[in-house]
């Protein structure tokens, strides 16, 4: 199936919903990891709105992304309860360790990094999320071990 067909299928599966734009964007992003350049026009045509409208919605929400994330999409909590547990230092460590800033992807495509404001894990912070897994009571050492493990797992999968 081409990318275009896949997107059209997703649109068809959701367009009957009330307020279908967000569910469609979610489904497309779930499928591709991001919203491919083609999707705006296809969605706009199907919902009979302008491409600018679709773009306006995408740009409003932090979660929607228009570039592929890393294989391991890392978000680090920056909110108050995690601050009280040292997340500012952890954030700095992660940026150094990965060699990227927020909203970037590592050159090898392995990791991307995003800020997040609370993951609902505030009694056992600092908290980090990788794809759909949440990690509590993180520290620089634990993050290092986690990233090493994730990188190794990928190498294993590829070989």
């Amino acid at each position: 199936m081409t990318e275009r067909e896949a997107i059209s299928d997703i649109i068809d599966a959701h367009r009957h919903l009330e307020g279908s734009l967000l569910p469609i964007l979610h489904a497309v992003q779930d499928r591709f990891g991001y919203l491919p350049p083609n999707s705006n026009r296809l969605i706009a045509d199907a919902l009979r709105v302008s491409e600018a409208d679709v773009h306006g919605v995408i740009s409003f929400y932090h979660y929607f992304r228009q570039r592929p994330p890393g294989k391991h999409a890392v978000s680090v909590c920056r909110a108050e309860a995690c601050q009280a547990q040292g997340c500012r230092q952890l954030e700095a460590h992660i940026k150094t360790r990965l060699g990227i800033d927020f909203h970037d992807v590592t050159d090898d495509g392995q990791f991307s990094l995003e800020p997040v404001y609370c993951l609902g894990n505030c009694a056992t912070g600092p908290t980090v999320r990788v794809n759909n897994t949440i990690y509590g009571r993180m520290s620089a050492e634990k993050v290092d071990r986690l990233f090493e493990r994730l990188a190794v797992d990928t190498v294993r999968l590829l070989s």
Binding site: L22, P23, H26, Y63, G120, A123, R129, I134, G136
Partner: protein
């Protein structure tokens, strides 16, 4: 015979390795144990908390790491309480943190299998809905009004009055919207109930539907809760087959359906009108009020927007009666609240208690002070728009009005604790930074004010023209408070002001001293 173990599939438990622990028990003792994946009991510092059922009595061990499983099994944990283990916590319900609580809304949470309809039924589920089905809509609304229940999402607006407005309003169709955006840092009670007892939220929504004449509901769930999404989706499917949802609720012929809609990482979408815009598939720009959502809400129709916990409190109220609920609490803060202890706290977790206990009791007696072992300095109560309270204010009773009197708020009940290494100037800066990041952009005092706020605080912290800049910061706070369309811009000054007032020396001297 197999022994029953309970190992939570709550996000916090998972974040500390509960899946690995459960897998290991099953791998090493699959013939002799069954594992129930329950919700959390709310004693989050003990997660992963493993409970073992010895002939009906549940004994707790925690926090259990993967490396603890083999030793526990070797000690015979499946056969007898291993009292000599350092992880042994005794009978779960007798752990003081839990024993001292008044669990109404969270009565089943951690006790049952969240996805077992049978468990739900055997532990008092369905009774609120059954009762509601015997009443007419006005009687349901009256019951909620008389209970004194106020919205748990932050603004503490009386739930019954909102429902009355929607009941009275006319529209082609009406909606129930469950606000599960839970964006405030330091709050996780919505998440815990959605993961630990999702049916109670669904039952509350169905009752709301009966009360106001709505047949369709949405749970607007934040994207940051992928585990809650899985559990809710499954729970809704199960509820449909059990008559808790569907075309004929418990065979009554009355209809109510609901579905989960995922948010997309915008804090402002927790504000009810922004949320409605988002549900309609638009940018989450805040709407001017009036019209109230109760009159013109989702797609212009009368809509109840209630927080998860407001709705989850409803079945108990219907079942046990308004008077029982109203008898609990303090002054005009009726019933119980799920307080959440977070941040630098030794015993973090969920405490459901009647209003009226003090912040000090929560932090010191329940929370057992700091995680770091250092002295505590401040508690931010009510999320990122809430005040920082110094120790001198910790005697305050947890009561909406008592907090309002000192320019603080209880909000959604989150309590974030900071030890003496916290740099309060940095916290003031963050309040503005957060508003800058998360403002919907509709009005100037908020959008531009927050950006200016960050700059002014930076100048103060760099010792530039401190006294003029402090005056400027005060003026800016007034402008934001008075000129913003919604509480995002309107309340961002609250944490900043509280720091200026109680920790002013840290704001100005940050440039001279090195912060820890």
């Amino acid at each position: 015979m197999s022994t029953r173990l309970f190992i939570p599939r709550d996000t916090t438990a998972l974040s500390l390795g509960a899946d690995e622990v459960a897998d290991l028990f099953l791998a090493q003792a699959s013939d002799s144990c069954d594992v129930v994946r329950n919700g959390t009991r709310g004693m989050l510092w003990l997660e992963p908390l493993v409970e073992v059922d010895y002939e009906g009595e549940r004994i707790a061990y925690g926090p259990v790491d993967v490396t603890d499983v083999a030793p526990l099994l070797a000690q015979g944990v499946l056969d007898r309480p291993v009292t000599e283990s350092p992880l042994y916590q005794g009978p779960t319900e007798q752990i003081p943190f839990l024993a001292r609580q008044q669990r109404l809304t969270f009565a089943r949470c951690g006790v049952t299998d969240p996805l077992s309809i049978d468990d739900y039924r055997h532990h008092g589920g369905f009774t609120g809905l059954s009762k509601a089905l015997t009443l007419d809509p006005q009687e349901i609304v009256d019951c909620v009004t008389q209970s004194g229940l106020r919205g748990r999402g932050g603004a503490a607006f009386p739930a019954g009055i909102k429902w009355q407005t929607v009941l009275t309003a006319s529209g082609d169709r009406k909606y129930i919207v469950c606000n599960a955006d839970e964006g405030d840092s330091g709050t996780f009670a919505d998440r815990i109930i959605m993961e630990g007892d999702p049916f109670v939220v669904i039952e509350g929504m169905a009752i709301a539907g009966l009360a106001v004449g709505a047949e369709h509901g949405y749970i607007y769930l934040r994207e940051e809760y992928p585990n809650a999404k899985l559990i809710l989706d499954e729970a809704i499917a199960l509820a449909e087959s059990a008559g808790l949802l569907g075309d004929s609720l418990l065979g009554s012929g009355k209809t109510f359906h609901c579905e989960v809609r995922l948010a997309a990482g915008a804090y402002i979408c927790g504000e009810e009108t922004s949320l409605l815009e988002s549900l309609e598939g638009k940018r989450g720009l805040v709407r001017a009020k009036p019209p109230l959502p109760a009159i013109e809400g989702l797609f212009g129709q009368p809509t109840v927007v209630n927080n998860v916990l407001t709705l989850a409190s409803i079945p108990w109220i219907l079942d046990s009666g308004a008077a029982g609920y109203a008898a609990l609490g303090y002054e005009r803060s009726k019933g119980t609240l799920a307080f959440q202890l977070a941040g630098n706290i030794k015993q973090g977790g969920l405490v459901e208690c009647a209003f009226g206990l003090s912040l000090k009791e929560l932090i010191e007696d329940f929370g057992n002070s700091s995680f770091s072992g250092r002295p505590l300095k401040a508690a931010q109560v009510g999320g990122p728009l809430g005040a920082y309270l110094p120790y001198s204010q910790w005697h305050l009773p947890m009561d909406y009005e008592a907090f309002a009197q000192v320019d603080a708020m209880i909000g959604h009940g989150g309590i974030v604790v900071f030890d003496d290494s916290a740099d309060m100037g940095e916290q003031a800066r963050f309040a503005m930074e957060f508003c800058k990041e998360e403002s919907c952009g509709k009005c100037t005092p908020c959008r531009i004010g927050a950006t200016r706020g960050v700059e002014v605080i930076d100048r103060i912290r760099n010792n530039q023209d401190v006294s003029n800049n402090l005056t400027l910061l005060g003026d800016l706070c007034d402008t934001m408070r008075d000129g913003s369309l919604c509480a995002m811009g309107g309340l961002t000054p609250v944490p900043v002001r509280s720091i200026m007032k109680h920790f002013g020396h840290e704001l100005v001297s940050a440039g001279k001293e090195s912060s820890l």
